[in-house]
């Protein structure tokens, strides 16, 4: 498939999706929390743009609504809430370096190749840019998950989780021209509720163990009784 042969709208879609994938990598490697939140906002903006463009291409009016919701939630509200959270928890200056940055990014690249390979069979369903966008969205989901695995900071984990949601949304928009509006509203609402809950939890965790390093959460487990204590108990 030669990208240059596609209609202009599809080319624009591909570029936007590729940029979203790039932001996923940026999220993966970004050690500063505030910068990561900005990157996440950019990813949301790109996904919203993809939705709007698809709406333009297919003429589905409800995709504009979806794009607006995404813009409001992922670009404005959630980043703002995260910012406020980071400020309240005094984490602005805290860096969360990866343990093996090169290895992580290589794994990310591997995931992209893998996603492309997984999306291969989807090729014949459409000649347009859909296949590539599906591969990219799958890669964004998996990269979000990888981010949750490699990051120790709880806020960074939330970013990974939200990035996964972005990937899913992108897949829905690209493959089936968006989910029904009701479903989308529901998902958006869920994401918002999740965000609020995360905020509450983080405040509580911070209060109780004085850190947001989730590797230390295992200390919260109840002390194991009598004969079960062996080896790695603290």
């Amino acid at each position: 498939m030669n990208p240059a042969a596609l209609p202009l709208l599809d080319q624009a879609l591909l570029v936007l999706a590729a940029m979203a994938l790039f932001t996923a990598f940026a999220l993966l490697a970004q050690t500063r929390l505030t910068a990561a939140i900005h990157t996440f906002a950019w990813q949301g903006a790109l996904v919203a743009a993809v939705a709007a463009l698809t709406g333009r291409a297919s003429g589905d009016a409800h995709l504009y609504v979806s794009a607006l919701i995404t813009l409001a939630l992922k670009v404005a509200l959630i980043p703002w809430m995260l910012h406020r959270l980071v400020r309240r928890l005094a984490l602005e200056r805290q860096a969360d370096p990866l343990e093996h940055p090169a290895l992580t990014l290589l794994a990310g690249a591997g995931i992209v190749v893998f996603s492309d390979w997984v999306a291969e069979p989807v090729a014949h369903f459409d000649a347009s840019a859909t296949r590539n966008v599906i591969a990219i969205s799958l890669a964004i989901v998996l990269l979000g998950m990888l981010m949750m695995v490699v990051r120790r900071q709880a806020v960074a984990q939330v970013l990974g989780f939200m990035a996964m949601e972005n990937g899913l949304f992108l897949a829905a928009v690209a493959s089936t021209h968006g989910m029904p509006l009701v479903v989308e509203l529901g998902v958006a609402f869920d994401v918002l509720v999740a965000m609020v809950l995360f905020g509450v939890f983080f405040l509580q965790i911070k209060n109780s163990i004085d850190s947001l390093d989730i590797d230390r959460l295992s200390q919260l487990a109840e002390p194991v009784e009598d004969d079960d204590v062996r080896g790695d108990a603290p």
């Binding site: 995931i111 893998f114 390979w117 997984v118 291969e120 069979p121 799958l138 998996l142 998950m145 990888l146 949750m148 695995v149 490699v150 990051r151 120790r152 989730i214 590797d215 959460l217 295992s218 487990a221 790695d232």
Partner: protein
């Protein structure tokens, strides 16, 4: 309303009464006395209605089914009351009524204790409900629900006095083995449901699995029901759990719950598995005979009265399964009439064991209540202090030792009659195997007699071995009445064998197609199970002759009036006056058998002549052979699983990611 519907309605009433008893048990948190005048009377009502329902179903030879509007929406519960269920309802009712009468007196001692009486009341009710449900269920779904209810409720009863670490350990072992058993039964029903296409027993009955799968289901059923019934390698929970539970609960568990396991086994193997294979029968005969011999050998060595009774239960269940094995052999080789005889023997043995073991556990409870001791080495001389309990316990021991004309003899005699018909079998191997099993049965009976002579002799005869036993007192009216009721039931089972065999034959006609019509062919007085001229037994003439002989002996040996009775020390060798410690001890009584069968026991024994002490610990070799290695292997497996279960969030997330990647790789 016809007989069958009436019987089923009565059984339903019994279930409702048991549930009501469980609910009323809750009141005991505030008002402990409600346990005595509400929960236990409701249980007695439940027992009486169950007894009536069982008798009606047996006498009317009716089969009634109904579909309950309970369970899952697309899977309603089926219930069915047929003669086989009737037999076990009869057993349940006959034991439950005395237990309910016994309960108030026995639990009064717990009122000021730390243990929750409400838990006792609630779980007793649920336990009985579960047993009734198992017996009445006509589909695998209801059966499993009721079965688990029975297992879990009895777990809570075993752990009733949970502040004792030993009880907690026993209860955990019981729970573990009950779960393994439940799993095996579930899998057996899975095999049956796969071929029957439905969970209802009716569908399974009409489409039995093929021979291979039937054998798989048989093995699973034997594992599951055998664990519950205490068959040999899986019996270890029984001697732990029975002493831990309160005595009236031990009576229920030993007398009824083990029989419910027998019922489940009979229902699955004789009705749902299709044509029986004689290999199953051989397995059962071997397992049953080994269980009986080993059970009684261990019963002989126990010093804890309730542990002794528990091992004796293992022995009796071995005999029941031996008889069931004989029935399968006869059925598989085309002798339905002989199979019916063996089945009647098994059912009769179940009833007798229920009545006798119920009586003995209640007696052991009375000893515990009156003397606060259950160790045979510290008891002694109770016959003078607790005369009624002693008499009842003696009758129970005689029945368990299978002395004619008591009821234990009838069922063992019937089992022997079935085994002695082995010459009719075609296969030479079976013709050898069955008499060998009969010989094992004879050995069991003799050792059983020794075990109960030892139990009664050490506990009730001689002199009290400890000070607190010397102050033992007779128990209250209710507890004595309960034992008397069971003695009366034993007497009925002993003296009316023809009637009972006739009732049980309706159940065997349902399972094998053959009854025992010839059993009463010489009138109700004579039991002739095979043919009028082959073997016969008449308990009432034997009783009369024995009574006559005994009376004349007493008359001949009566003390003469002329010589006054002189009380003095017995012969004491001219040394110190005899003390209770000079008596024949329970361990000493069993010593010769311990030497002869030393290879069976894991003995830990040493004698210190200087300190005049003797320490003896008899343990089951199976702990070391089977259970400990199994435990170690499980521990290793758990350790491997622990490596993955670190408790780190990120580790779990990476497992999810890897799983996702692998799954994606597989589908593409």
């Amino acid at each position: 309303m016809n007989t069958g519907a009436l019987a089923l309605a009565l059984a339903g009433a019994a279930v409702v009464a048991a549930l009501a008893s469980a609910a009323s048990g809750l009141l005991a948190t505030r008002w402990p006395r409600t346990l005595s005048w509400l929960a236990f009377p409701l249980l007695a009502l439940c027992g009486a209605t169950a007894l009536a329902a069982g008798l009606l179903a047996l006498a009317g030879d009716t089969t009634t089914t109904a579909i309950l509007p309970l369970g899952l929406p697309w899977l309603p519960w089926h219930v069915r009351l047929d003669p086989l269920s009737g037999v076990f309802l009869l057993i349940l009712g006959a034991v439950l009524v005395p237990v309910a009468i016994y309960g108030p007196g026995y639990t009064r001692a717990f009122r000021n204790g730390r243990d929750s009486l409400a838990a006792l009341g609630v779980f007793t009710g649920l336990f009985v409900t579960g047993m009734l449900g198992v017996v009445l269920a006509a589909d695998a779904f209801l059966f499993m629900v009721a079965w688990e209810l029975m297992s879990l409720a009895s777990y809570f009863l075993v752990t009733f006095q949970h502040e004792v670490a030993e009880h907690r350990r026993a209860a955990f072992l019981y729970l573990l083995m009950a779960h393994v058993a439940g799993l095996a039964i579930l899998l057996a029903f899975g095999v049956l449901a796969a071929s029957g296409g439905s969970f209802a027993f009716a569908a399974m009955r009409s489409h039995p699995p093929d021979a291979l799968w039937a054998s798989v289901a048989f093995a699973l059923a034997l594992l599951g029901f055998g664990t519950k019934a205490g068959l040999l390698p899986l019996h270890l929970w029984l001697p732990e759990a029975h002493p831990a539970a309160p005595s009236h609960i031990s009576a229920l568990m030993s007398a009824v719950m083990l029989k419910v396991a027998v019922y489940g086994f009979m229902r699955v193997v004789f009705e749902l598995l299709g044509p029986p294979q004689w290999g199953w029968g051989v397995t059962l005969v071997l397992v049953g005979a080994t269980t009986a011999v080993v059970g009684v050998l261990f019963a002989l060595q126990q010093t804890d009265l309730k542990r002794l009774l528990a091992y004796s239960s293992v022995e009796n269940l071995g005999i029941v399964f031996l008889a069931l094995g004989l029935a399968l052999i006869f059925l598989g080789s085309g002798h339905p009439a002989l199979a019916a005889l063996a089945l009647v023997a098994a059912l009769y043995q179940s009833l007798n064991h229920a009545l006798l073991k119920g009586l003995l556990f209640l007696g052991a409870g009375a000893v515990l209540h009156g003397a606060h001791e259950r160790n045979l080495e510290r008891l002694g001389g109770l016959q003078r202090r607790m005369p009624r309990t002693g008499l009842f316990f003696l009758i129970g021991c005689m029945g368990m030792a299978a002395l004619p004309p008591l009821n234990g003899f009838v069922s063992e005699w019937l089992t022997f009659q079935a085994a002695l018909q082995a010459w009719q079998l075609g296969s030479g191997l079976l013709r050898i195997l069955v008499p060998v099993a009969a010989a094992a049965l004879a050995l069991t009976a003799a050792l059983g007699a020794a075990a109960f002579v030892r139990a009664y002799g050490s506990a009730f005869l001689g002199r009290a071995r400890t000070r607190h036993v010397r102050r033992a007192h007779e128990v209250g009216v209710g507890m004595r009445l309960a034992q008397a009721l069971l003695v009366a039931a034993c007497a009925a089972a002993a003296l009316l064998p023809t009637t009972l065999v006739g009732l049980f034959a309706t159940a065997t006609r349902q399972l094998t197609g053959a009854g025992l019509d010839q059993a009463g062919s010489r009138g109700w007085l004579w039991l002739t199970p095979i043919a009028p001229d082959v073997a016969s037994y008449a308990p009432i003439p034997i009783l009369l002759v024995l009574a006559l002989l005994g009376a004349s002996l007493v008359w001949a040996l009566r003390p003469s009036r002329q010589v006054p009775v002189r009380r003095a020390d017995p012969w004491d060798c001219g040394f110190a006056p005899p003390t209770p410690r000079m008596q024949y001890s329970a361990a000493g009584f069993a010593q010769p058998i311990r030497r002869v069968f030393a290879m069976v026991y894991a003995l830990d024994e040493d004698t210190d002549a200087a300190a005049a002490t003797h320490r003896l610990l008899v343990r089951d070799r199976l702990w070391g052979w089977l259970y400990a290695p199994l435990g170690v292997a499980l521990d290793r497996l758990a350790e491997l699983a622990r490596r993955a279960q670190t408790g780190h969030v990120r580790r779990y997330l990476s497992w999810s990611l890897i799983t996702l990647l692998v799954l994606l790789w597989i589908i593409s």
